[in-house]
Symmetry: C2
């Protein structure tokens, strides 16, 4: 199996290095690694945040372990050259359309959540976010109104096939968990959402074992604070998913803990921590590598067909926390490398 | 001064009745009231959620006190006839473009917030949401893709004048408070947001006393949970404002407490609680009237030129809470009428 390593910027290289060693420890023999620059690192090396050779590696690989992209030094660049285009480009070029973000509070970290402990403890949900369509990839630009004013515009859209394929991921994810799927949209205002709701509703007949509900996005943002324990699986579009998944992460505690997977139809996936490149602490052995290590566990489960090793990693992370290891974001002083070491020791 | 009363559906009539009595108590002599149906009530009475006579009253009035709209019985209606079209129609027809939503936790209600008490106590912010543009009012519909699939689409857009007028409300609101304005967009993906950001940034020169910052909407959703105390005034578009303001409300505690104002350029405004019509408790004397009473206070301040009476109402609400009155949403047993009575007694 070929794993593409794309460490990216800021703390990316540090956290990817730890996760790679964990992968080697649990499944070393079967894995080959190849590395390529992305983000600001890609721009510096090859003049583009997603250089052709990096994209080529992504296509050849069975799975991608992605660190983080973003660098304030690139703020002045035109949008097409900025670091975050790397992740948008990989999602689109490889048809990675299903972003899965589990949010769950480790009992050891209850104090890290901004929510009241009783409310935070109940969080155990997965957000399934579509990442190939919506207002992200529609026609967009700057035009002049009849009155001669500059106007920015972006077309939001989904067609029935796009909704169907992500909704099926949502139903199947729910079926493998507690059997509840909440589809989030803004159907009281948006035609895109009305189609979304109609298509999702029609699919429910194929999943009689899943209880489907619908919620408006403004209410969902409220309910994720009020009572996040009510959710099992949430399925939603690219834009609403971007907002709600970051919000849910923060409800679950430190953003340094949460992994993600973005999958195509065939099981190939890109795995990345949900946190950013944190340039302020880069190179200081301070970053929390657990989100990336847990992303590697998701890789084993979803792309490498090795759920047993995924379980092993997840248990080792819980054990490292139970043993008292805490990086700075969790209020402790354990370094990035020492945390990686603690997980490997607990495998 | 002519006040239009639009009680609407569900608990709307009950809460508007209490707020009206508070207005009469503080400013009775100068006010005339006229009532008209909206929402499901408008549809039942006149076949439309915003009947022509209701719209006409809105145009004639100096300010509108709005209850809530929404009725499950209308779910099957086509979108144009559903209750929520009343509020969208009033915003658009009257050019009510600036929705102000203060979110602040009453110390007496600290236990009602889902956030940790130390984090919740620091919340004191205003969200300034644009309500005349964005993906709400752009071209939208259902079309067929070249591949023959049904596709829903909605065009998001803002022109420079639309951004300028709402940004100025944001800057001025910040100037009258703690002098900090955070503009929220998704400029790393949306052209609409890039123009938004450029226009807001250019205006900063006119407000040297206001510290302007920019934040992506996903990060803002996270920060509103992690550390809402960092915000003073947030200015944002219609869609992001819809999501973030509901989220912020919930962070601040019960949604039964929070008022809102939606203003035009001239000072006319629509005042409404941010909660919905809550059909499950309608007609049972259980609804919390405080959000509507506080909306009436905002009316006195922004449309009726009587800030002293606004202050009086706000102090009376605090006094009623301090005296121990709590409606069901706040964990108590005080009825709607008794709560209104308690506020009036404390004026
Ligand atoms: C960097 C940005 C373009 C990206 C997105 O909006 O999708 C990020 O926020 C994410 O969620 O992966
Ligand atoms: C009812 C709905 C159309 C409305 C909106 O989205 O603006 C509501 O959520 C609000 O915030 O006032």
């Amino acid at each position: 199996m070929l794993i593409a390593l794309m460490p990216g910027d800021g703390i990316g290289p540090e956290v990817v290095a730890e996760a790679r060693q964990v992968l080697e420890a649990v499944a070393g023999a079967g894995l080959r690694f190849e590395e390529a620059p992305v983000g600001a690192a890609g721009y510096r090396a090859e003049g583009h945040p997603l250089p052709p050779a990096t994209l080529d590696l992504a296509r050849r690989a069975d799975a991608i372990l992605f660190g983080a992209v973003g660098d304030p030094a690139c703020d002045g660049l035109e949008r097409a050259l900025r670091p975050e285009q790397a992740i948008l480009g990989l999602r689109k070029h490889l048809e990675l359309f299903a972003n899965l973000r589990p949010a769950k509070l480790y009992p050891e970290l209850a104090a890290a959540s901004a929510l009241r402990p009783d409310i935070a403890a109940a969080i155990d949900l997965v957000i399934v976010r579509e990442t190939n369509g919506d207002v992200y990839f529609g026609e967009k630009g700057l035009r002049t109104t009849p009155a001669g004013r500059r106007q920015g515009y972006d077309v939001m859209s989904y067609d029935e096939d796009e909704v169907t394929r992500i909704a099926r991921v949502g139903f199947e994810t729910a079926r493998a968990r507690r059997g509840r799927l909440c589809s989030v949209d803004k159907a009281n205002v948006l035609e895109t959402s009305q189609l979304w709701r109609d298509v999702v509703s029609a699919l429910a007949a194929d999943y009689p074992d899943v209880a489907l509900s619908h919620m408006y996005v403004d209410n969902a943002a409220m309910q994720l604070v009020r009572d996040p324990g009510q959710f099992d699986v949430i399925v939603t579009g690219n834009l609403f998913g971007d907002i709600l998944s970051d919000q849910a992460s923060m409800c679950a505690g430190s953003i340094g803990m949460l992994p993600s997977a973005t999958l195509d139809r065939a099981g190939k996936g890109l795995y990345e921590p949900i946190h950013g490149s944190a340039p302020d602490i880069a190179g200081q052995d301070k970053a929390n590598p657990l989100a990336t290590i847990l992303s590697a566990a998701m890789m084993l489960r979803y792309s490498l067909g090795d759920p047993a090793s995924a379980d092993r990693i997840e248990r080792a992370v819980a054990a490292a926390l139970a043993a008292g290891h805490r990086t700075a974001d969790l209020g402790g002083a354990t370094g990035t490398r020492a945390m990686g070491e603690a997980v490997r020791a607990a495998l």
